[in-house]
């Protein structure tokens, strides 16, 4: 079955990203397809490469990136939500005159249409939030 995953909260503050990760990983291991993982609202903060959690804790961002690498996942950060919260890639940095980027290379920034398309193309939309 084809799933789409929507994540509304950032890493660590809420369990949403953890639950979504475990759901996604389990679904993939069971042979399901993940059409897209869409990071919305504070969920965009899951896509920064600048986090350094304590060594005895999970690394929420890298874990998503590694799962993405293993299964060739489409990890999409919403551009409008990202602009408000300071998640930036090269294109955004150039457009908005920012002197740095913080997006993790395994994620990409794109529009809200990607969420709507994911809901259309997948058979189930799973929402993880606060």
């Amino acid at each position: 079955m084809k799933f789409a995953i929507q994540i509304n909260e950032g890493p660590y503050q809420h369990q949403a990203s953890d639950s979504a990760y475990l759901f996604t990983k389990t679904a993939l291991e069971k042979g399901h397809e993940i059409f897209r993982v869409f990071f919305y609202h504070d969920g965009v903060n899951n896509g920064t490469r600048l986090t350094t959690p304590p060594q005895d804790d999970r690394h929420v961002v890298n874990r998503w990136a590694e799962l993405g690498e293993k299964y060739d996942l489409d990890l999409v950060v919403c551009v409008a939500a990202a602009q408000r919260r300071g998640i930036v890639d090269d294109g955004e940095a150039e457009r908005n005159g920012k002197d740095a980027t913080n997006i993790h290379p395994r994620f990409r920034i794109s529009g809200l249409g990607q969420l709507v398309e994911a809901a259309i193309q997948s058979e189930r939309l799973m929402v993880f939030g606060d």
Binding site: F3, Q15, S19, F23, T26, V127, F128, G129
Partner: protein
Amino acid sequence: MSELHTVNKSPFEKSSFASCLEHVLEGSAVLLYEDGIYAATKGTAVEGKLKSAQGVKFYVLGPDLKARGLGEDRVIDGVEIVDYEAFVDLAAEHSKVVAWV
């Protein structure tokens, strides 16, 4: 196929569990996870809500229950304890998933 509703917040802290129950139709299922698992435990002041939901099948996510130190013996009779594999199965088997975030 019926719907799967998910609730991830404590019934003591937020009204999402109560609101979910007010909109669940007979034959549907509700999965309690994260802080939502507290709604599935025995002897609480809100236990009656779950028990009085007619014709609704309840599931609770074992990993979240265990994390919070609550043993399987604390779960209200009739609520099924599931793991992430079963969570995925439930999402696939039901016609859609409604998240009461």
